[in-house]
């Protein structure tokens, strides 16, 4: 287990996405925590094909590209102070790593990875201050965490579900840091949904 954790930090994320291995805290652990039989049933009913998994990975990849573009808009806005800019660039870097890992995984599964949209209609006219930019980013991170939360039970492949959980945790950390930067309670509740 130590080896897996170390690998996920040092080696390209692809290793984590595609290697076998024991779940550290898997989606099934959450189901057990919630004592939820119907979740287990849903999992069986959703037993997805590789094609379905590719679909899920590609939707996630689309989200990551949007996040990367959004941080670019934020970074270029001229509204961010140095410490906030540093955070934005670091978070954008994480999203780039997610995108690389997802792209590799789609290819490995024989799929065609989606590419970034030609343009994103971000609400740029509403971004007038640093706070606006942080709030915008926080909303996207919350949405991303939530999207992974909704995707994890849909994966047919447990390793992919685990990898998605790892990304979800990262998005949730971003969200918490950004909430903190806004002066809001960084962790508003015990569950993310």
């Amino acid at each position: 287990m130590t080896e897996i954790q170390a690998t996920s930090i040092i080696a390209p994320r692809r290793t984590l996405l595609l290697r076998g291995g024991q779940a550290l805290l898997s989606a099934s652990a959450i189901a057990i925590l919630a004592g939820c039989e119907n979740m287990a049933a849903t999992h069986a009913a959703n037993a997805a094909s590789t094609e379905d998994d590719v679909q899920i990975l590609n939707t996630a990849l689309g989200l990551e590209y949007e996040g990367i573009a959004a941080y670019q808009v934020g970074a270029e806005s001229g509204l961010l102070s140095k410490p906030v800019l540093d955070i934005a660039v670091a978070f954008q870097g994480h999203h780039k790593e997610h995108a690389t890992a997802l792209t590799d995984a789609v290819r490995k599964l024989g799929g065609k990875p989606v590419t970034p949209m030609a343009s994103y209609e971000f609400p740029v006219d509403q971004l007038k201050s640093e706070t606006d930019v942080i709030r915008f980013a926080a909303g996207l991170e919350q949405g991303a965490a939530s999207a992974y939360y909704g995707a994890i039970p849909a994966f047919g492949n447990r390793d992919l579900a685990q990898a998605a959980a790892s990304i979800m945790a990262d998005e949730a950390m971003h969200w918490a840091v950004l909430r903190h930067a806004l002066g809001e309670n960084p962790v508003p509740s015990a569950f993310v949904s």
């Binding site: 959703n46 209609e121 991303a144």
Partner: protein, 140 residues
Amino acid sequence: MTNHLPTIDRRRPARRLGLLAGIGLALILAAAPARAEGDPVAGEAIYKRCGGCHSIDRNRVGPKHEGLFGRKAGSVPGFDYSKAMRQSGIVWDDATLDRFLENPRAVVPGTKMTYAGVKDAQERADLIAYLKQATKPAAP
């Protein structure tokens, strides 16, 4: 943040109980067949779960929701839908949304909306009540 810690420690047992009760309640609600009245204010908070992929007024990873009610599924111009969604024959209203949002991939197999669904019937009712208000096409 540190000032939260003592509170958590003191209240932990009670909170746990509340939590378990909450989960039990959620399961009961999820199992209840009757569809309750939706609360749009609660629904707006639930819509945050959709906000990774959707906005009311712009296409993103998912299509914009403006003008949703009464619209044929898969019909927003400029959005690259799955074949499954375009050919689903669905027209969006309270009932079709309720079914789709409970388990999107079962109702439209092959959909790009790779989202497990909103299992709680009350939450779906709230969400639909919110969508009904928020997706009204902007007045000309």
